[in-house]
Subunit: 103 residues, 4 copies
DNA sequence: ACCGTGGTTAGCTTTC
DNA sequence: GAAAGCTAACCACGGT
């Protein structure tokens, strides 16, 4: 339960420190690495957001061309369900095969 | 489409075929038991879903009375939460924040 | 209990005192209602938790009878997918009908 | 299984079948355009999914380096959060908590 | 223009 | 420790 040792990362064990600017660096070099991770994540999330906007735009364009966005969404969802269900069914089949000792 | 009825039980693991080959009744009595289990599960899940809807309705009612649902959720969560753990988590978070210079 | 209650409802989100007619209302009427909502929610959640335990027990019982829980889960999931997909398809059909002005 | 090809556009409002045999294309050229829209959407969604996986990987890497993913998530969320709003929410929460006597 | 609804996504829990 | 399933928060859309 109380594993919450106040330590940024186990890397600290090296005892080495590279106090950089910006980070108060309670945790030695770990602070810099943490910051790096966070920035990578934030960048990827920005890209993802951009993609979501692109998708919206396609729907908007489709709508402008006379299609019903809601319907398109449903079609896309159903096609996805087909794929997923097929995969699930295949997994189930594998499960069955192991259940009867076919593997 | 198929009914997705299945008969899988490791009871078969002995390897004996309890039915003649090409049996329609793959799994014998096990099939009936399995079906029973599945139906019990499905029924309980229906009840659970109904309960979740009830909870939603209470939130909706509270909202309609002028309360902020999101905050009520937080209060409920806090009441459920062990105080000590919460404090520890907050401390850890503070630490991280200083590590990346958020203060 | 604290005495610093002002107003519970969201009408005061602006920060103004919307307290009408001198109701001191420590915990006030709003506080009582809020508490009531919270308790209703907590009670429903207890029931839900109980149900979830029941479900687990069924899986455990099935397992004890020689069935593979994982497989049962898959079957339940697939049956649910069937239901959902059918509903989706029906909705899509409705959508189509409105798209061609059948309603 | 069917291809789930659909052709729904209000361009069809006349209700005439503009195609002869072969083409499913109840909506004339609209069918081709719709398909194009759907494919563009599906492609963008694939990219989005890939990005989501990348994000997961970064979290996994951070974890493997000794960081606590859960906390990183919180930090990212906090950085995204408008400070003022957060404070307001906290104040509101305090208010609620006093209302129900949690202090 | 706002509210309510539904769908999507992320986080948490539990399982293997 | 990894994977999956479940739950809850978020967001965008349509209705009023």
């Amino acid at each position: 339960m109380s594993e919450n040792v106040v330590n940024i990362a186990s890397q600290n064990e090296t005892g080495e420190e590279s106090q950089g600017e910006g980070t108060k660096d309670t945790g030695g070099v770990a602070g810099a690495r943490l910051k790096s991770f966070i920035e990578r994540i934030e960048r990827l999330e920005e890209e993802k957001t951009a993609l979501m906007e692109d998708i919206k735009e396609v729907y908007a364009e489709a709508k402008g061309t006379g299609f019903d966005a809601k319907t398109i969404r449903k079609v896309v969802a159903l096609r996805k369900m087909d794929t997923e269900k097929r995969q699930e069914a295949e997994q189930l089949l594998d499960l069955y095969k192991s259940a009867i000792g076919m593997y």
